[in-house]
């Protein structure tokens, strides 16, 4: 749900309420994010089948739980051919290989989009917060207009009209997420600017720009760091959603949203595995990023 970030941005200003301790959940979230980041590097390499090449046997169901121990033993002892752990889809692609290869697309898009949004938003926010003048006031109004765009539809327009590619997806998401960082950084810079250290720096003759970049900026990055984890999660959801309606990456790329979309019709007819496994992957990944973001926020506040 790409809209909850607005909600979290809206809640951001008020005092936090103590949240229950959930250490185990935190370990789980770090584990999932770690595995997904590792798969973003290794996924396509360790996949047992080529994720974008058909095995020519469609709709092979995944092995039943009862058959799993036997199959595991077989594959560990190196006998028999490679197994379709998650079955194959309507085009004969191996679902397991595609699920573990997809982080190379989904996570790379999300992390890079967030990175570029930071690169764009943080400097603008710093300038807008530190130097308050008509020019920065206009900057904030422009940022308001961008933020009032309906996120999903705007992303769809940008990507579809610019051409459906990973690069365009990254640019579109970065542009749409940048205003959050402008706003967060600006608010934080404004409160940091009132601190004694700024006054002291001025007194010993440090230039305004140097104060802004070397002293105020490092102290203002906390909220952006917290938001990054949340934004990466939502960027994954948005990427998958765009591919689901046909406005994201193009088939046969291994991407979770696209896999769910191609399996959608099969699901109604009872072939659940092409859609269910990539869905579990998205569900766990985005949830884990949300848990991490929450933990970071608590750490930062205390």
């Amino acid at each position: 749900m790409s809209q909850a970030e607005l909600l979290s941005a809206a809640v951001g200003g008020v005092q936090p309420v103590r949240a229950p301790r959930l250490g185990g959940l935190m370990v789980f979230a770090v584990g999932v994010v770690g595995v997904m980041l590792a798969l973003a590097v290794l996924g396509p390499i360790i996949a047992p089948f080529n994720p974008t090449q058909s095995a020519f046997s469609t709709y092979i169901p995944p092995p039943t739980p009862a058959a799993l121990p036997h199959l595991l033993w077989q594959s560990l002892s190196g006998r028999g051919g490679a197994i379709h752990w998650f079955g194959t889809d309507g085009s004969g692609f191996d679902v397991f290989s595609r699920v573990i290869s997809a982080p190379r697309v989904d996570l790379v898009i999300a992390v890079l989009a967030n990175g570029f949004a930071l690169l764009l938003g943080v400097p603008l926010g710093l300038v807008a917060g530190y130097f308050r003048n008509p020019a920065t006031e206009i900057l904030m109004r422009v940022s308001d207009v961008v933020q009032s765009f309906p996120v999903f539809i705007s992303a769809m327009i940008l990507v579809a009209l610019a051409g459906q590619s990973m690069v365009n997806l990254i640019i579109a998401l970065a542009v749409l997420y940048a205003p959050i960082y402008v706003r967060l950084t600006r608010a934080e810079v404004m409160s940091q600017k009132a601190r004694g250290m700024v006054e002291a720096s001025r007194a010993i003759g440090i230039g305004e720009w140097e104060i802004a970049v070397r002293h105020v900026l490092p102290n203002s990055l906390g909220p952006t760091l917290v938001q990054s984890s949340v934004t990466i999660g939502f960027a994954i959801l948005l990427t998958a959603g765009l591919s689901f309606v046909g406005a994201g990456v193009r088939p046969p790329a291994a991407e979770w949203g696209l896999m769910i979309a191609t399996g959608a019709n099969d699901m109604v007819l009872g072939e659940w595995w092409p859609s269910v496994f990539p869905g579990i992957a998205i569900s766990l990944t985005v949830f884990s990023f949300a848990v991490l973001g929450d933990a970071l926020e608590r750490h930062y506040r205390s």
């Binding site: 309420v17 765009f149 996120v151 009209l161 699901m267 949300a290």
Partner: protein, 342 residues
């Protein structure tokens, strides 16, 4: 003073909308898409291509196109005359099409929000009563979980379970059974219309078809709303007058009621914001269940490069959400005078 505050807010919203109109108009024309080619096909002769471009007005300079769209050019009917243009694909006025699609989305969202609030508010209150208790732990995890889920996947999952496996839900193929023929729309909201015509069979059928889409949205929306009610309730319960009420020996029930009244105002604001955001965010659920709402209209227009329709959808959705925010601000200013007198 409240009137001055409202007028100022209205002015800001209008400026924001104008900025949006300009931004969207030029943005979609500056992106490297070729709507003419998409419309006439790749193998069209150069003459047919030029003619199509001419009939769409795309051979004119950008500024002329813009003035025509806004309605400032000589003899043109544009935005200022309340005309959103004509769809290039269907040749129907965009406003008419949006008028048919928008009620579907509003109906879906309103129903989902009502159900969500009925569930999420009591649960949020219960979890706020004992922070750190087991109810609170579950609500907290669910709050993070529900708010970070791919709703289209859950929709499909519900279809698989309730339609394919259990057979108690309809196929995800629209809002009304195609065998039924509802009377012509009065308000456009099929639930209200069916009641007005006295066609309760159709009402039942629509609710039957909305069962799974609403379930999907409730599942997603409950997370953030529970989390928010919990937060606002805990904050309210920490205030001094509650301590006083406790010292005065009032019952837990009464104290909860007092605290809830305080927690209500910030909660309403956030629910309103969420509603505005969901106007454009319900796309995926609409697509899964083929409901034919404004989100699906947006998808269709974008994929067909139908510029007037794209501009119309973005404008209408943004205008509606700005209107909701404005109403919330007015409501807030009416409740809390500190807002209007900063």
């Amino acid at each position: 003073m409240v009137i001055r505050f409202v007028l100022r807010r209205l002015g800001i919203s209008l400026l924001q909308l104008m900025g949006l109109v300009v931004a969207v108009f030029f943005l979609i024309r500056l992106l490297p898409a070729d709507p003419v080619a998409r419309l006439v096909g790749m193998n069209a002769s150069p003459a047919a291509y030029a003619q199509a471009a001419h009939s769409l007005g795309l051979d004119q300079p950008l500024l002329t196109q813009f003035l025509r769209y806004v309605g400032l050019a000589h003899g043109s009917k544009g935005l200022l005359q309340g005309n959103l243009g004509t769809s290039w694909v269907t040749n129907t006025p965009v406003l008419t099409e949006i008028g048919q699609m928008l009620p579907v989305t509003i109906q879906l969202l309103t129903l989902s929000f009502v159900v969500t609030l009925l569930i999420a508010v009591p649960v949020g209150i219960a979890s706020a009563r004992r922070p750190g208790g087991w109810v609170d732990k579950i609500v907290f995890v669910y709050g993070l979980f529900g708010g970070s889920q791919p709703e289209f996947w859950w929709g499909l999952l519900f279809v698989f379970v309730f339609f394919f496996k259990l057979g108690i839900a309809p196929a995800p193929l629209g809002l009304v059974d195609p065998m039924l023929s509802p009377s012509p729309p009065i308000t456009g909201f099929i639930i209200i219309d069916s009641v007005l015509w006295g066609e309760f069979g159709i009402l039942a059928d629509v609710l039957y078809h909305l069962m799974l889409p609403v379930l999907t949205l409730v599942f997603i929306l409950s997370g953030p709303i529970m989390k928010m009610v919990r937060q606002n309730m805990i904050r309210a319960l920490q205030s001094d007058f509650i301590l006083y009420a406790q010292a005065g020996g009032l019952s837990i029930r009464t104290i909860t009621r007092y605290a809830f009244r305080v927690a209500l105002a910030p909660s309403i604001t956030l629910v309103g914001i969420l509603y505005g955001v969901m106007l454009g965010g319900a796309v995926l659920v609409e697509s899964v269940f083929s409901l034919g709402g404004i989100g699906q209209y947006a998808v269709r227009s974008v994929l067909a490069f139908d510029y007037p329709a794209i501009e119309g959808v973005v404008l209408v959705i943004t205008a509606l959400s700005l209107l909701i925010y404005l109403l919330l601000d007015i409501l807030y200013a009416a409740i809390d005078p500190r807002v209007a007198h900063p």
